[in-house]
Amino acid sequence: QFYKLLLGVSGISVEKNITLDSATRIELSCRLDDKHFHFKSVQVTWKRGNETIRHINKTENSWSIQLTILDNSKLGSYNCTLKGEQELSAVFHLQVPKIEGKEKAIVSYEGDTAVMICKSSGHTPIAWTWYMTNGSEQIAINDSLLADKYAINRMSANVTHLKISKLTKEDGGVYWCEAAFELGKSKGKLKLKVLSIMVPLKPFLAIVVEAVILVAIVFLCEMYSKKRAKRA
């Protein structure tokens, strides 16, 4: 696969995010925008961190490198720098697919069942693992061990569900869903909040009492004004 970045105005960083889930060969290319720049002599360096990459293929106005990505170690940010009259640079970020958790907490009640969903956009993971946070530790959830409490279902290729039954207050907290790809792992964060039934019941009862009181007041006012009208 071929990825290209166009270098134009200096000072503005040009970046590209590339998501890879399985072993592949890719070619990254940096091209000089010939509308803006005509450098007489150009020095190009490709780097990943501190490591310089030697084999650069040069064509008319572009410089590219070829990479074979087999595992996690080859992922990262690849930087190409063009030095001429000005210095221009571009960065390619090679990453595993990101898993999105949920920003908002999932609110559920004691004794109820909660379903937590994780999706991987576009790329299919090899496996999913769920973790719950206990203090600062992350503990993997074993659904065969506690089958009546936890159930992990792979609903489709890219979606996983964690179903927690008979919720208690202790079940609340941060959960992680981890997707394993050939090239690495990626995590998504979810929050679960477990409330007791009393929590919404209090405002509910308050409002009901308020409504009943208002109805009573209106009725009494009306009966009173009717009595006054009758007397008058």
Partner: protein
């Protein structure tokens, strides 16, 4: 018949009724509009498809429309107050039981059926009683009451989201149910008028009107004495039929723009937050339009039918121009126009119904009108969707809505011509009747 219509309060306690109706509008229609926020939560909890979950709202809307004539006939038999209180209790129970969330079918029965029935039993009498309490200031009163829907919808959006984030969707449903119990409070405030329908029906057989019937031949119904039951004879009246057809066509077009505004906006490249602001603009100008139209109609400068025809024409113009927008500013301006004229139409169309059928039949007419109009509401969105799919562009939906409205305006014009012709005809009739005054009053009835 005359005792009630010749002496509506037109103020005083009537304004309390208007405020109470304003609240009922908000607690019913606005809740229905904002229910979409629960959609994703419920869908994920029960692990169902989006289409299966959307049935909840479909059931609510269907029961709302089907329940309207039932609510109207109950109003005629019992008082408006009783029906609104019943509606409040039903809506409250629907939401509160929805808190238990046992299954999807349970949600259909509670937040779908019970809620729909409750909303129907609260909304219909509330709209109706405002018209009963006012005659000269009816347009203004109706407009203020209907503005409640916009005002509440504007605040319920963020409020419901906050409730869901604090208490989860189940707790939020419970609390909203409690809030809907206040519909009963509003209902208690809706004092029945001293000269109610029940009194009329017992009097009209024995008493004869004191001879001033000549002046209001058209508005007074020649309907049979049976006020206690639902008046089906309305379908025989050409004015009502014309207005009902107008209602169907208008309903077909009304549900379309809100549906396609968001996708059209996305297709123009406008992002989520700006699109959401378009909806807020719509709500705000809707509110302004309703109040302004009510105030203007109250001046009695133009006939309400003429006013309605004008507003419909203006909406259809905005809808035809809306597809020309290609950036946010143009879209916002046209949306503003559309929302404003939509508000004016909603504010005045119930008043026109009252003017078309007259007050004695108004309750039945309202229920029947809502029922007939619902067919337009069911046909409109799928038809528009079909047209959009065929044309491959969301703009086609707006053109369809605009065209349907122009067609509906045609029916309004026909209705107006018919009414004018009848008025001219009755004016020539009143001359011989005036000379009949010295004759016994029973003879007068025969001439009428």
């Amino acid at each position: 018949m005359q005792t009630k219509d010749s002496n509506p309060p037109d103020g005083g306690y009537g304004w309390v009724v208007v405020v109470s109706a304003f609240m009922v509008m908000g607690l019913t229609a606005a809740v229905l509009k904002t229910f979409g926020l629960f959609f994703v939560e419920i869908q994920q909890h029960f692990d169902e498809l989006a289409s299966t979950t959307s049935w909840i709202t479909s059931i609510t809307i269907a029961i709302f429309h089907l329940g309207a004539p039932i609510a109207s006939s109950l109003c005629v038999r019992y008082t408006h107050r009783a029906v609104v209180i019943t509606g409040g209790l039903l809506a409250f129970s629907g939401m509160a039981l929805g808190f238990l969330g046992l299954s999807m079918v349970w949600m259909y029965a509670t937040t779908g059926f019970l809620q729909g029935l409750g909303i129907s039993f609260s909304w219909t009498p509330a709209i109706s009683i405002v018209s009963h309490y006012f005659s000269k200031k009816r347009a203004l009163a109706n407009a203020i009451a209907s503005a409640g829907e916009c005002a509440f919808a504007f605040t319920f959006g963020p409020f419901f989201q906050w409730l869901i984030s604090q208490y989860g969707w189940k707790g939020a449903l419970l609390i909203i149910g409690g809030i809907q119990l206040n519909i009963c409070v509003c209902g208690v405030l809706m004092r029945p008028l001293a000269s109610s329908c029940l009194l009329e029906s017992s009097h009209s057989e024995t008493e004869t009107p004191p001879g001033n019937g000549a002046s209001r031949t058209d508005k007074e119904d020649k309907s049979p004495i049976t006020h206690k039951t639902f008046n089906w004879m309305l379908v025989r009246r050409p004015e009502f039929v014309l207005y009902a057809i107008f209602g169907i066509l208008a309903a077909m077009s009304f549900f379309v723009p809100p549906l396609f505004l968001v996708p059209l906006s996305y297709s123009l490249g406008i992002d989520e937050s700006w699109t959401a602001s378009l909806l807020s603009i719509l709500a705000m100008v809707d509110f302004a339009g309703r109040l302004l139209c009510g105030w203007y109609a109250n001046l009695h400068v133009t006939k309400t039918v003429h006013l309605l025809t004008m507003t419909i024409t203006l909406i259809s113009t905005s809808l035809m121009l809306l597809p020309l927008a290609n950036n946010y500013l143009c879209l916002a301006i046209f949306t503003g126009f559309y929302g404003f004229f939509f508000g004016t139409t909603v504010a005045v169309h119930i008043t026109v119904l009252a003017d078309v059928v007259g007050m004695p039949d108004f309750d039945s007419a309202l229920g029947l009108f809502m029922l007939i109009r619902s067919t337009g509401g069911f046909v409109g969105p799928p038809l528009a969707g079909l047209i959009v799919d065929m044309a491959g562009d969301y703009r086609a939906g707006f053109y369809m809505a605009g065209a349907t409205l122009v067609l509906s305006a045609g029916f309004l014009v026909t209705l107006d011509q018919l009414q004018q012709r009848k008025q001219r005809g009755s004016q020539t009739k009143t001359k011989p009747e005036k000379s009949a005054l010295p004759y016994p009053s029973l003879h007068l009835l025969k001439l009428q």
